[in-house]
Symmetry: C2
Subunit: 365 residues, 2 copies
């Protein structure tokens, strides 16, 4: 008796009220006299009652007040990436304001032979809405699972998924602005360093066949913007992860492939700031100057306190994007409103881009 955890019924009995009244005292959702509430709360304290049992509440009300947040393929990668972290940050604060909890869900359990296993949490955990932070297509097995469970979805950076809310940024516009800035400076030969293409990651130069396999939306959008701009793109280097070391490795590969300064690409468009920063580091390592020998532009607008100089980059409102997703969740929860938002970006011109070397020191000198 003293061992079993007290229930609302016990509290009600001790307070001398009905169970329904006791419930009201906690939920604050119905009319109740202050004196009655106090009586109930006192009885609760007396008995060591820790508040209504969530399971009971959830079952009866049909609400969990929990949002499942599906992050990249590995928790590790998502947490390491400041971009995801900032989005997550905006998202959690917007959800927290509505007293919604965030349940972390790994994206996929396994990736074997192209077969994607859905994480058990996605199939069994209680949640009112699911947020797919990084992309989804209609054929996505995760979408399939959620749809079957009747859980509404908010997608970040994905293809349009029927009946789901979508929040994305103007990737295309950002990259186009970058390219225009660079061509305006006189650049003619470009290389681009891309984010991972798809779940089956690899690192290296991209050929035509591989180019068709871009599956991850931001990668595709940003690559398409370069391809569509008509500039002379002499190479596409695909990375395994958006990290400094990957950017550095990419730059080393670029320098190795184009040893001759005369024919070397003069501008590098990296799809993320960390990749760009890594590229700059590798250039310095090789004794080259930025932007005198090569211009490097990034994407994200991260604040890199350790980076000397300032990256030319596309500032995307990461935290605001997260918040926007949170608002989309709340709209879905409030009245089922499906929304679609595109966040604007802004080109910031830093110290890592400048005129190409041929312009600064003409070939005939």
């Amino acid at each position: 008796m003293s061992h079993a955890r007290p229930t609302l019924t016990d509290v009600a009995r001790a307070a001398g009220v009905s169970v329904s009244t006791a419930s009201l005292a906690f939920s604050a959702s119905g009319p109740i006299a202050d004196s009655t509430r106090a009586k109930v709360l006192d009885a609760a304290t007396e008995l060591g009652y820790g508040g209504p049992n969530p399971a009971g509440r959830q079952l009866r009300s049909g609400r969990y007040d929990i949002v499942g947040v599906v992050i990249g393929d590995k928790l590790k990668r998502s947490f390491r990436d400041p971009v995801s972290v900032q989005v997550l940050d905006g998202l959690t604060s917007a959800l927290g304001e509505a007293d919604l909890g965030v349940l972390l869900v790994p994206g996929v359990e396994s990736y074997v032979d192209g077969e994607i296993g859905v994480d058990p949490l996605l199939t069994s955990a209680g949640m009112d809405v699911a947020v797919l932070i990084w992309g989804a297509h209609t054929s996505d097995p995760r979408v399939e699972t959620l749809r079957k469970r009747g859980i509404p979805i908010v997608v970040g950076e994905g293809n349009e998924v029927e009946g789901s809310s979508l929040v994305e940024i103007d990737d295309h516009g950002g990259v186009v602005a970058t390219i225009e800035h660079l061509t305006g400076l006189g650049h003619e030969r470009f290389v681009t360093i891309t984010l991972p293409f798809r779940m089956g990651r690899r690192e290296g130069w991209v050929d035509d066949a591989r180019r068709e396999l871009v599956d991850w939306t931001p990668t595709r959008h940003r690559l398409d913007a370069v391809l569509g701009s008509g500039v002379d793109l002499v190479g596409i280097y695909e990375t395994e992860a958006s990290l400094v070391e990957n950017g550095a490795a990419a730059m080393r590969a670029i320098l190795e492939r184009f040893p001759d300064p005369a024919t070397r690409p003069t501008a590098v468009v990296a799809q993320s700031d960390l990749l760009a920063a890594g590229a700059v580091l590798a250039l310095h390592e090789a004794g080259l100057r930025v932007p005198e020998d090569m211009s490097v532009a990034g994407f994200d607008g991260l604040d890199l306190p350790w980076f000397s100089g300032e990256l030319t980059t596309v500032i995307q409102p990461l935290e605001a994007k997260g918040r926007e997703m949170g608002l989309a969740v709340r709209a879905l929860l409030a009245d089922g409103t499906v929304t679609r938002t595109t966040m604007p970006v802004e080109l910031r011109i830093g110290t890592t881009t400048g005129p190409p070397p041929s312009a600064a020191a003409p070939r005939n000198s």
Copy 2:
């Protein structure tokens, strides 16, 4: 009818079996003939049944299969800090392996006049165990709340909380090894840059009164190790957050307070790698060399790809610590076993520490 979501009862009826048998087909926890299971599963697919309702399951079984992870005072800070991120990473993978979900819980809702408000999620969300990643004391209101709810606790880096599992690292040993390394090199005048002291954050030099107010366990352990080592500690600089910029600001304050190279401290013990890295950057900024003009040691063993050289630091097994917490959770869940673990650390001597300037260039030269 076709509108309402089907329940297990509907599936059972459609499959021509009892509800309990249908339940067995999903839970895989009882004996059931393969043919029967197939029949149930087919009926489920037919009806578009997405699996057992979590609320029902939770209510009946009393298990949520969810672990509440309480992070620092602000989600933002935790996510920005690679240290937390790595711990979180290890924790989530260890929990994921047991199919336990991670519910993110902001530590406190508010901090006003020393009054700590507990986040509503802590009082109302369903969870089997709570993990306090960064510290707790017995009088902690969060501990109070959880105890009342009967939720077992795993604490990382905290005071011992009665009846809770604890996972910590050997802070003291790490700092002592650092100090010994530095005194061995001939250093005599030390400064230490500390992590935040407590929830009410401030930045600046620490006087005796403030020194009493250290509330955060790693900060206290590491500071006590310096104080107890008997070296000449000429200043304690407290930071507001463990970030590169805070370390740089601290170093600027140090250089300002000790303008004379002859009396300046020659060794800086920073309580984190980011602080140490920031300190090194600020030294370079001021035209000083590391370690020739000043030695800097950190703590954490982070991998900083952008840092030129290698930090002398104490390597703590962050991810392993997270995993260890996950194991503690599982032990608690399995049979209520309360554990207490101290993880070992290891001093790594890098390129940021060396003999003090007086030794390299004696005063009488």
